[in-house]
């Protein structure tokens, strides 16, 4: 029986996220707008009218999330595929959420990509992987190909500040969003 929270070493970054890139704040702002005028360390709602109107709360299969409409739709497709291929894993999926307008901790200028509702943190059996851990867990590793196939960049592939439970819409996916 698979233990989905068993730890695994992080793979070589060149073997994941192939052809994908993590979007910078500038791209997200240019495509989706500035979520709000001011940010803090706490979650705050988007105040930009166009962006706020594109934020939805919907069931994506294993849970409900609040995020940008096209990103949420993409998640539903991803989790449909996971349910088809790995029903046992599917039953253990949870999340620490998507949408949350705030600064990256320790920065006064860098905005979390969660501020646009285009990133999600995944729990496996309720577990999250600590920031900068040099390992992932089995359940997360099984999800990576599904997210990557649909244009999502995996945080375990960051060159620095590894973030193994974090997935975010890649630059090409974001560039195709219309809100």
């Amino acid at each position: 029986m698979v233990n989905y929270t068993d730890r695994l070493p992080l793979p070589d970054p060149t073997t994941v996220n192939i052809g994908l890139a993590s979007p910078h704040n500038s791209l997200l702002k240019s495509r989706l707008g500035a979520p709000r005028n001011s940010f803090s360390d706490d979650c705050q709602p988007a105040t930009d009218r166009r962006l706020a109107a594109a934020v939805v709360t919907e069931n994506v299969g294993p849970f409900r999330v609040t995020g940008l409409r096209p990103a949420v739709a993409s998640l539903r497709t991803i989790f449909d595929e996971v349910r088809r291929d790995h029903p046992d894993l599917y039953g253990k999926l949870g999340t620490a959420g998507m949408m949350c307008c705030r600064l990256v901790r320790g920065s006064r200028t860098s905005i979390s990509n969660h501020s646009w509702g285009t990133a999600i943190d995944m729990k496996i059996d309720g577990a999250l992987v600590p920031w900068r851990a040099d390992y992932a867990i089995v359940g997360l590793m099984m999800l990576v190909p599904y997210f990557n196939r649909h244009g999502w960049f995996w945080g375990g592939g960051y060159r620095r500040s590894k973030d193994a439970h974090h997935f975010e819409c890649g630059t090409d996916l974001v560039s195709g969003f219309t809100i």
Binding site: D42, F63, A96, D121, P130, R132, A133
Partner: protein, 149 residues
Amino acid sequence: MIRLFSFALLLAATLTGGAVPRPPSGAGTGPCTYTRPSRLPDMRGSWIGACRAGRAEGPGVIRVAPGTGASAPLLWFGIMTGGRAGLGVVAREGLYYPDAGDDRAANVRAFAAAARGARETARLFRTKGNAASARFYEDQAVRLERTLD
């Protein structure tokens, strides 16, 4: 369940693979009671933090020593109010288990509370002159703060 404060701690591997430092002698004033956070197993534990009128109070850490054969202690980082566990995060075998559901803001608050607990514990160790333990818990505070970026 009400549990008794105890300084009977065991050395063990940490969630990050190193050694968990012992709390400083005299940290807190026992006996101190608290309710067990829901994500902690029903095992003997120790509150490292302030105690008011016999109850755990404010930010701190619960350290649960595992039974024979287990390798790592469980740590709960969070905030107590009148001996009742509020928001927090369990650290177990290198993973974090927040006391929160799927809501983003609730998870962010749980990790912020956990970071406060770790930072207060670091302060206690520093006050007692235990720099190594203070560094360990300060490192935990930073990890907890950054885990949901």
